[in-house]
Symmetry: C2
Subunit: 315 residues, 2 copies
């Protein structure tokens, strides 16, 4: 196979006019250039230069070779450049998975800054719950997934995935405006034994979390209404159909609904970014997510960033 380095040297020789000049330009010795040209002449089975004592004149074959070699070298250089950008995460594709709350509150902030710093990364977004996203991540169909985990409901990701903690949000109690506890700053779960509840659907981590929180208080919450849409849950609470426990980020203040903090329990939802570490673009995306998390934590008192501070040098 023709050696691209030889082709490059050949073009340098034609541009420079002599082996020695080309050698100086390329950082070779004149002998090395001479040997490369000789090797190239053997490869193409044609003389490429008419040798004089102090002068060389390229044959038409050499000129033809150079004209054609340009395409090859340009393609190789372009590929190399793109590969470099890809390895640095500045170009490429980032396939992102996220659950609804994060898609609404965290992702817009993160993606805005990410798009600014990585304009050439094509970002595609898949919506889904953690249980749906993790398999996609392992199958290589996602590069990065935003997932959540309730402290009372232990949950571990497969070992081949890496987790970066982003946010820890309190679980807020949602009460109808006219509720007898509406004025309280904090409420104990003990005081809610008689309540009817609005919760996420059976089988979800949110539903399990509620059950496990009430268990120490000695009762099973009576759930009359279920929805996975926090907007729907908020509406049901506002109508006085029950109380609810929702993550802080999932709640937007609205008339007719008051919030209270739980007393006596540490109930949090943790939001994390999970990836497999093969796509360099995730490094920058994680950094943007950490920044966005920090902004949210600064704005909302019931939200705080997880352990690590954002660092630019990811794994």
């Amino acid at each position: 196979m023709l050696n691209p380095l030889h082709l490059r040297t050949l073009t340098a020789v034609l541009n420079a006019g002599s082996f020695a000049a080309a050698a100086r330009r390329l950082g070779y010795t004149a002998s090395a250039v001479s040997q490369q040209i000789a090797a190239l002449e053997r490869a193409v089975r044609m003389p490429l230069f008419e040798r004089g004592a102090q002068t060389i004149t390229p044959t038409p074959a050499a000129r033809y070779l150079v004209s054609r070699a340009y395409d090859v070298l340009a393609a190789l250089d372009a590929l190399e450049e793109d590969v470099r950008g890809m390895s640095e995460g500045t170009i490429g594709r980032l396939r992102l998975g996220s659950f609804p709350t994060a898609s609404q509150r965290l992702l817009p902030i993160a993606l805005a800054s990410y798009a600014g710093t990585h304009p050439s990364v094509e970002t595609v977004l898949d919506e889904g719950e953690p249980d749906e996203l993790i398999p996609l991540l392992r199958a290589g169909e996602l590069d990065l997934a935003l997932v959540y985990r309730y402290d009372p409901v232990p949950r571990a990701w497969p070992r081949d995935l890496q987790e970066i903690g982003l946010l820890e949000e309190e679980l807020l109690l949602l009460l109808p405006g006219g509720h007898s506890l509406a004025a309280a700053e904090t409420v104990a779960l003990d005081d809610l034994k008689q309540e009817t509840w609005v919760s996420t659907r059976e089988g979800t981590a949110g539903a399990s979390c509620l059950r496990r929180l009430c268990a120490p208080a000695g009762y099973e919450p009576r759930v009359d209404y279920r929805s996975n849409d926090y907007g729907v849950i908020r509406g049901l609470v506002r109508s006085g159909l029950g109380v609810a426990l929702v993550p802080a980020l999932a709640h937007v203040p609205s008339q007719g609904v008051v919030t209270a903090r739980l007393s006596g329990v540490e109930a949090r939802r943790r939001i994390a970014a999970v990836h497999r570490g093969t796509n360099p673009a995730v490094t920058g995306a994680v950094w943007s997510l950490c920044q966005a998390a920090a902004r949210l934590a600064a704005e909302l008192p019931s939200v705080r960033t997880s352990s690590a501070t954002p660092t630019k040098s990811g794994a």
Copy 2:
């Protein structure tokens, strides 16, 4: 610089599905493939495969690399293929120089067969006398030149040029139809002392040749009319304005002009192909010229091929 061989191996691995299968296809050992992929991964600073025990799954980076590598490899392969054709003389450009007689009688036959066997060679033709063509040949502006040389007028080409003899043609005496010697088969130059001559222009080899042939007979030919166009010469002879000595190929039988052979002297014009040996396309062209020369020699009694018989394996 990215190694094209590594890129080729990478594509083979993705097509084959495993290192071992790709190795079998490429004629490598599995270890060699593994090492090439490892080297490529170092070069692009990205993992290209997720390794399992018996299975590998390419990363998106690998797929991207393959899709881009195709262009590079295709360009390299195409270049290599064209270079191969060029070195074999089947493609490329042949710059040909020729003098008028050869352009009319020899070249059409030769180029017809050459175009058939080398359809991808672009042929360009320059018209000129040997003294004009030789410098062009040495300057690299011509690849092959058809030249002539009169036996009585020694002429040598520069040593860096190679000559392939093609034809030897007799010099024929042209007489007006009503000339007193018109019925003779052969004529001695001694009998032409009183004639007026039509010849090529002063300074041409043809004019020198005539003078040198007459010298042994003890006279200087009286040239009243000169033209380098043999058609014009023939017309002047037909009109009875003189006699002429023309190469056999330059003469086409026509009414009012009779030809006679010279007796007592060996006067021939030799037609040869001259080249510098840098362009592989000349080999095929020379072969076609030899063939055409053979055809002409078979048709015309006063023309015979030079020394060598046409061989396909030129220098």
